[in-house]
Amino acid sequence: MRQRIARRLSAAWRTASIPVLSTALALVVAGVVVIASSAFTGNGFQPLLPVGAYLQLFVGAFGSTTAIGNTLVAAAPLMLGGLAVGLGFKAGLFNIGVAGQFLAGAFAAAVVGASLATSTGIVAVPTAFVAGALAGAALGFIPGFLKARTGAHEVVTTIMLNNAIGFLLTWGVTDLVRAPGFSFPRTGDLGNSALPILLGRNLHIGVPIAFLAIFVIRWLLERTTVGFQIRTVGANPNAARYAGMSPLLVITFTMALSGLLAGMAGAVQMLGVIGFYASGISANVGFDSIAVALLGRSNPIGILFAALLFGAFRAGAPLMQITTSVPVEVIDIIEALVILFLAAELIVRRVFRIRAARAVPEEIATVTRTWGEQVAR
């Protein structure tokens, strides 16, 4: 029994070591940047500033029940978005369109939610939520279908769709669904469609939904035929076809499901936090999700922890800014460094003297794969 636990732990460490150590290294390097920026901006040389800043970051993220709530609320859309990207990686697909699918989900949820603002919550909340998820799925389906049908690379199509959908939704909110009584174009108030608050000030029902999604996707990938097909297509489309699977069908399905998850992220953020759609609302979740999926090694449990880490950064940053005057951009630096070190694994292995892995992780392979490769038809 004990041996088995030890074996599982060491297996887990083997997968998690590089992400964990990359994060540690990123914190150290960002700390140097903090010291340097303070020294160069006339605030003087403060060698302990990073320690204080990280401490406040930690307190802001975990120091009270409210702080933990903020972390979970910030992490929820990242979990869903991270799953969206991670699921794509499993099938060898790089869905950069999460930002657009997120916005589509947010928009649909906002419009449907506002129209049901006076209905009872038991009807309004699920309807608005499902509308958002489906909008994301529809937008994810397009690049999937294009790839399966014409071989159009999903990286190109999803990036272009991000722009297209952004402009389309701006037009939608200014000319089609603009709510009266506001000084700028936006959708109406959500009323009863807002996600119910479960705990404290802002811990809404989207948080348990995101946790649930983690385990559903984990089950899907590891325990179902569909999941096996997704992983097989990701590993080798030709072999999958030889084994009687249809890579084209699997690719279309995976992209649609990925879009569905991204749409859920948008719906959760819209119905739980933002409350109305306006041109100019951020789609950062879409891009942070890529980082989350990379850091989580496309593994649902890994994505859970990566999303919690990024959520903690987001939730802790305000307190860090107020109490230590360290600029919020240090968070961007940390996140960027994490990805840098993940991609340049060699650096981390040298610094921490870890032996080389046997194979390149699938998500790194997907991201760095050349575009010339074609899927078998």
Binding site: L55, Q56, F58, V59, G60, F62, G63, S64, T66, N70, V73, A74, T170, T174, G181, S183, F184, R201, N202, Q269, V273, I274, G275, F276, A278, S279, G280, I281, S282, N284, V285, R314, A315, A317, P318, L319, Q321, I322, T323, S325, P327, V328, E329, I331, D332
Partner: protein, 329 residues
């Protein structure tokens, strides 16, 4: 190993807990600023409002203000709440998009003063939330005086963002009226691109005006307008910026910006803090206009101003102060 980890964890929790309570011992008012999306040093709304908060804090003897820079629109509420949780007395929020959350927080926290830069507070307004708004028509009027006095072709233009956004329309109306009053034969081309984020369209729109002979272009169109100014620079004619001194905020167009129709954000925020200190809770909307130095034009750049231009600007400001000049007529 496990023991050591536990000890380290306990230490972290202890230190964290002890730091978590930030004592509010300083005697003066605590002032917090929540910015709009982007960076603090944007040479635009965030930066000048922040400078205004610093000036204001100094003026009322409060400790240096703190700022939370917003990186995602979803964080507006959480960022405001952070200041509330830290027992801040005054919270300044920047930009219209954060207005919805500011209103909610003001309603929930009647003992904290909220100021919203560029936010219009609709009735019924809470007593502790004041929108700082600006009379764009007056600033546009001053820009129109400059344009009418530097044009050689007697043709000037204005590129607007959207025709259904009142501040944009007011800027341009003031500009038109001033130009006509300065020189009744002047032709003012006005085009609303109906988009704030399309530099290419702004450039095309300005180019059409330039092709028709315009030699001064006023932009009131955000990023679209940056494109319009670029067209002006390429054609070696003059551009006029908007909201802040764009000579500083748009280095690309530095060499062709003559002036900018300005909202004096820094003064507006500073004065708001003074009002709060002197008179207590502030509600409704505070109109920043010529009477209180809330609007103006930036110094003339890149050209030697024609004789008498400054006098004309000063006269217009004086008339606006006196109430004898309505820029919308």
């Amino acid at each position: 190993m496990a023991k050591r980890a536990a000890v380290i964890f306990a230490f972290v929790v202890l230190v964290a807990a002890s730091c978590g309570v930030i004592p509010g011992t300083s005697s003066g008012a605590k002032i917090g600023v929540v910015t709009d999306i982007g960076q603090l040093e944007d040479k635009s709304f965030n930066e000048y409002s922040w400078l205004g908060a610093q000036d204001g804090a100094k003026a009322i003897g409060a400790p240096a203000p703190q700022v939370i820079v917003t990186k995602d629109t979803a964080d507006y509420a959480a960022n405001i709440q952070q200041f509330i949780d830290q027992k801040y007395d005054v919270i300044v929020t920047i930009g219209f998009l954060i207005g919805t959350d500011t209103l909610k927080k003001a309603q929930a926290n009647p003992n904290i003063q909220f100021f919203g830069v560029d936010q219009f507070v609709a009735d019924p307004a809470p007593k502790n939330y004041q929108g700082l708004i600006f009379v764009e028509a007056q600033a546009g009027y001053l820009a129109g005086i400059v344009a009418a006095n530097i044009t050689k072709t007697n043709k000037i233009g204005a590129v607007g963002g959207r025709s259904d956004v009142p501040p944009v329309v007011n800027y341009i109306k003031g500009y038109q009226n001033a130009a006509k009053k300065e020189n009744s034969s002047i032709q003012v081309a006005v085009n609303y691109v109906e988009d704030f984020n399309a530099p290419d369209k702004g450039q095309a729109s300005a180019q059409t005006m330039i092709n028709n002979g315009a030699d001064v272009i006023f932009q009131v169109a955000g990023l679209t307008g940056a494109g319009a100014l670029r067209a002006a620079c390429t054609a070696k004619i003059w551009g006029i910026g908007v909201d802040v001194d764009q000579y500083n905020s748009l280095p690309d167009a530095k060499n062709c910006i003559v002036t900018s129709a300005e909202k004096h954000l820094q003064n507006a925020v500073r004065d708001a803090l003074k009002r709060w200190k002197d008179k207590g809770a502030q509600g409704g909307n505070f109109v920043n206009d010529a009477t209180n130095g809330g609007i103006g034009v930036s110094p003339i750049r890149n050209i030697t101003p024609p004789a008498g231009l400054q006098a004309k600007i000063d006269k217009a400001i004086a008339d606006m102060k006196a109430g004898t000049l309505d820029p919308l007529k």
